[in-house]
Each structure stands twice: as C-alpha cells, then as structure tokens.
Subunit: 416 residues, 2 copies
Amino acid sequence: MDLELVTVGTELLLGFTIDTNAAEIGRAVSAVGARVVRRASVGDDVQAIREAVADGLRRTGFVVVTGGLGPTTDDVTKRAVAELFDAPLEVHEEYLRELKDRFARYGRAPMPPSNRSQAEVPRGATVLHNPRGTAPGLLLEGELGAVMLLPGVPLEMRLMVEAHLVPLLERLAGSDPSARRVTRSRTLRTTGITESGLASGIAQVEQKLEDVSLAFLPGWDGVDLRLTAWNLPEERADVVLDRAEAALRPILGEHHYGVDETDLAGVVIDRLRERDLTLAVAESCTGGIVGARLTAMPGASDVFRGAVAAYANEIKIHLLGVPAGLIEAEGAVSEAVARAMAHGVSQACGSSAAVAVTGIAGPAGGTVEKPVGTVWLAATVGALARSRRVHFPGDREEVRHRAAQAALDLLRRLLS
Amino acid sequence: MDLELVTVGTELLLGFTIDTNAAEIGRAVSAVGARVVRRASVGDDVQAIREAVADGLRRTGFVVVTGGLGPTTDDVTKRAVAELFDAPLEVHEEYLRELKDRFARYGRAPMPPSNRSQAEVPRGATVLHNPRGTAPGLLLEGELGAVMLLPGVPLEMRLMVEAHLVPLLERLAGSDPSARRVTRSRTLRTTGITESGLASGIAQVEQKLEDVSLAFLPGWDGVDLRLTAWNLPEERADVVLDRAEAALRPILGEHHYGVDETDLAGVVIDRLRERDLTLAVAESCTGGIVGARLTAMPGASDVFRGAVAAYANEIKIHLLGVPAGLIEAEGAVSEAVARAMAHGVSQACGSSAAVAVTGIAGPAGGTVEKPVGTVWLAATVGALARSRRVHFPGDREEVRHRAAQAALDLLRRLLS
C-alpha cells in the first residue's frame, strides 16, 4: 500500500516552520505496513496544491494532505481539492450546527463569521471528526483515487491520524493482518562509549543479524543504536527485533541503559526507588540541569530530596561544607572538590545517595591543565563512592548536557 | 527566481529523521530573494530521485538536492542525476587526490575503497568544495536547467549553502542588488500576556502596518509576534520591519522582552549585571530549570551565585530557613512560603536579588483549592519584593517550563 503526502503552507517553504507532521505521519503509516513513497510541500496556493495532489494521485491513488484548513483567507486546501474532484463546496449543515455548539460551549458565541467557511465541504466528501479543533478532516473518493485532508496543527493532526488514517489503512490492507508487511524500529540506548567503540564491539554480531539493519545515532546523551526490521510480516518484525536485541544486549553490557524514549534520569530514579534510597545533587557548571532532569520524571519526589547549584565558590563552602583550603589547593574543578560536594550535599539534604558535578563549560575559564570541557564527577551511595574525570568536546551547551548525562550515568553504574 | 528542493532519504519518508535541512534552505533562499516553490522528499531510489528532480526542472529550471551523496550503496543521488543529464560518472582525479590527502591527514590512510565512489562525478559537473566532509557538492548545468547537489549532513549542508548556493543565487539575481526582492522576518518576543490579549491590544496598529504581515506564535515562553516583510526590495524590507517594530513596541510595553532568539534568562542576567546585583534562586517544582537556564548564558558567573532546588519540605526548612510552622499553616505552595524561600536563598547565598518558585506540576498533588498547575512565585531585589500566583495549563513538563519562564519574568519586571 503506497501513498503520498502533501503538506501545505507557505511557512514550510520559507523555513519558518519545520515539517514535523511529515515525519510523524511517516512513522504512523510505516508502522501499519503502508509506505509514503514521496512527500511534497507547497505554499498556500490553489494551483500548486491541486497539482501536487494530482501528481500524487496519478502515482499512487492515495494522498494525505495536511494544512490549509483554517478559517482565514490563505487557507485554500479545501478549495484546491474540491476543484480537482470537480465537487462544489457546500455548507455541511450538521457540521455547522456542531461548530456553533462548540463555540457556545466555550462561551464564544456567536461564532465569528470567518469560521463558517470551515463547515463548507466538497460535495460527497466524508467529514472526519476533529476532537481538538474547528477544522474538520475530510475524505474524498473518486475516479482519481482517495484524498484525506487533515489539519496542520500538530496535536490535531496526530489525534486524527490515529482516529482516521491508521484505521483506514488497516482496512485497506485487508482483513488478514498476518498478510500485512510492516517496517518497525527499536532503539537501544547506550552511554559512556564512543560510536567507534560500539561499532567494533558489535561488528561480529551485526553481520549475523537477519532482516535487521543497524544505525548508529550519536548524540549528547550517548550513542543510540537503531534496529530496523524492513518490510516484514507484522509478527515476524517483532520476533526479529526481539532476537536482535537479545543478541546485542550482552555486548552492550553496562553501557546500555534503556530502550526507545527511556531517559537515563528515569532509570536512576527507578533504581533508587527499588533500593529505598534518597538522592541529593550538587551541581556547579551544570547549574541545575541534573536536578531539572530528575524532577522532570513524575513521582521523582519519592527519592529526590533536593539539589544545590553551587556556582560561586562561597556557596560550595557555606552550603556544601567544602573546605575553602581544598578549593584553593586543588581548584574548584578537581576530584577532591567533586567528592566533597557529593558528601556535603548528602549531609545537607539528609540523603543516602548523592551525585556531584564540577567542570569548565566555557567559553572562558580553561587552562592548559584543565581545558574547557574538563569535568569532575563524583557519586556516593551509602559508604560507596566513585569519581571520574572526563573531557567533553563541544560548546558550553554541549559540555553542560554531556556532563549532566555522565553524572547520572556514574550514579547508575554505582547503583548496579 | 523560483527553484525547487528535493531532499533524499528513505529515513525522511519513514519519519526517522525530521527534515530540518529543508527549512534551513528555505530560510537561506528567501533571505536573498529567491523562492522555493515546491519541495519534495523521496527515498534512496534512483528512479524516484530522477523523477522528482525532472519534475522540479520542468517547473522552475533550478533544483537543489540534498542527501544521498555518501559512500554507501544506498547513496544513489549522483547516479540518478547523472542519468537524467545523460552524463556518465567518471573519476575526478583532482578530487580523488584531495580525498586521499584528507584521509592521510587524519591518520586514516589508506582511504577505504568505498570512499573512492565519492570522487566519481557526472561528466561536465562542477565540484563544490565540502570543508567538513568527504562528499563533494556538485553543480550540473544543461538543457534541462541547473541542479545543485549538496550533502544531507546538516552541518555540511549549511556551510555549503552559504559558500555555494547563496552566492550563485545572488549572481543569478543580477548585478544590481537593489533590484533584488527579498522576504525577511523579525520576531518580537512577549511573555505574561495571552494571544488574544495581545491580538486585541495591537488590532489598531496591525491594520496600519504597511507591507508587513503579523503572525502570533504562542508557546511555553509566551507569545512571539513574527513580522514578515514579503517580497520587497532588500533595503525597503529592513525599513518596513524597523517601522513596524517601532509602531508595535509601545503597545507591547513591559510584555516585550527581546527580539528573535533572545532568551529571557539572558535579559535578566544583563539587567542584574548593569545594576551590579547578584542573584540566587530557590526552586521547588521546577527542580533546577531556572538555574539551568540562567547558567546556560556565557558569563552567568558575573551575577549568578547559586540555586537551591528544595524539593522536600525539610530542605526548604534546613537550607532556606523557611519556618516549619509556615509550611504547615499555609502549605508549601503558598505566597508566604514563596516569599520565605526567596528571602532564605538570598541569605544563604549572600545575593542581593533572589527569585523563588513553588508549585504543583502534577500529575499528582492537586487539590480543589490548589489544582495541578498552581504556582506561587516571589522575587526580591534589595528591599523590594513582589509575589504572584499563577495557574498554568498543560502537563508536568509544560507547567514546569511555564513556571520557570514566569519566575524569570517576575524578576525582570521587578528590575525595570
């Protein structure tokens, strides 16, 4: 089942808006075994839209269009597709009532006249309910093929892809789901190892992987390994991914911390919770990133007590009890100070575990011995302690984010 | 000057990769007065690439293609375009030498055989230097029109757009830069006012704006107002934007905090620095976001002393000196506690200014009187103090980010 995608909006062509809808629809479509074979973006222009949709119909017979369904004069998608299907726009009385009701419900009656156009529908089209917005989706079918129009607002689009597009594709694929071929992927997340280290480690297993391709995706959080099963029967795709994951995991070892969207901060919180531990954080160059990431996890309060961003040395001394002489002797970015910060914050917050970061994020502050990117990390869990010196590449933002991830990782490894 | 853009990669169609290159090229092209009239994405498939490029050439005579220039077997862009131009691929000896030199320079000699294909060039094509990668860009010109091939790696693409595409477009536009028409935009950032409040406030001025359109872009940081001057002579575009900004600023008043990419945290740091003040931050529900945003600014250490993320109530009591009885009587999310946190953190860190946030980010913890999204903010500057209760919509992530922005904004307003 091939289809094409047309995203509409002059802002897309000008680059003011990044086309995230196209990626999202691509994922949803391939997950149910259909395939986007081409996508196009055109401006808010009747002729350009009509041509792009006609091109797509000629090639595949099924086109999904997003955007240009709003109430303003530059929203012309409906008109373009109505022209193509030679179907005049008519007021859909039922939808008009629904629209008026909706405005009344939100205390915005009477409905602005401009919204009336949203109840105009090409003759013969099916109206698709939009739970979050005033623009209905539409499905047109004719000799040229089928066109589904969806709103461009990402949240509305997403809900309607689930509610209307995916079920339609499943219906079109036929009654036998086992006959369906899908493309699915799974990401194994790793951190603390380089891309080339990972590549050489798994080279042998990689060659033996059947029906699965591997992509290395290096980023600030580490290197993600994306496994993709291409164009396989649905059940087999999952089996193949499970098998590949099982083959890779022993090699990834401790570097592997989760699958797909898993955040390392969530892994750390879960491990602390399992062991009934509480956590405090001392940050210098990261200034709050470690605390912010941990508290982004719902339920963080079970284990997270607090954090001190000790940016100025006096704060390290007064709030964390780091001896002034230690900072003077070793420097604020040193193993001794990192350890003292971890110890101090755990005392100050009454926690059983702690992690500390101190480093030089740049652009200023580097020296020959401690260039920009130098970071000392320390973690404690009860009487256990571990520390580590790392040197990160990149600018201030990159160094800070990598340092926060490495701090969480040091703690995770100490907890295992 | 119209052109089309074709981005190549099966990963784009599957939605594994978001097409940021397309947006970036759109911005670069419109800034020099040319116009992307359609863009298409196709998979790593010779026929699909050839057809998409041919379609674009038929319509505009100039197509920019990104992606598919790497050394692996699925990189077929060069082959597709060579077929279309009927120009056989030939080894470009000079580039091959350069490539080998480059591998030698990085201690990776001999060059892997797969990279040899990157020195193959369609007969007659101009090789465009790629300062950051091994795939050269190419320019093909013929009866069909012109095609520029650029690598898909965003950093390489970006540098080559500046070095090759923009100068070519400027040359094509002719020798008289004043004859060039461009589309330019400028964003006025606001916070602390709703989209509809802003819209009604500026309705009168909006009607009088000449040659500038206005877009409201609401987000977690506030509502951005994007002014766009469409298709104007280059000099006039800037004049028109200056004039529109001058007309809007008095109406935006205190809600306006910066232009384009300005971060509110940077504005706060600048104001503190100007007045020789130092800052400390107390965070509860935001857990470190405010500190992280402030310390993201290079030079933050001039004014930022430190932050305490007092997640557990005991930390509010022990590190910030909030009276236990106050928390019991008023609740941790209350005006009195927010004020006590600001006062306490300024004492603990020895700062002259402070800001505090305490709220219920959810999903749990809401009550009838204080539902999820309720946040109390307090700020102090010397003897001045201000506090504010707000209620934010959205999930945990949204509430936390909006609360951090509102905290910075409370401090900014107190500083002005």
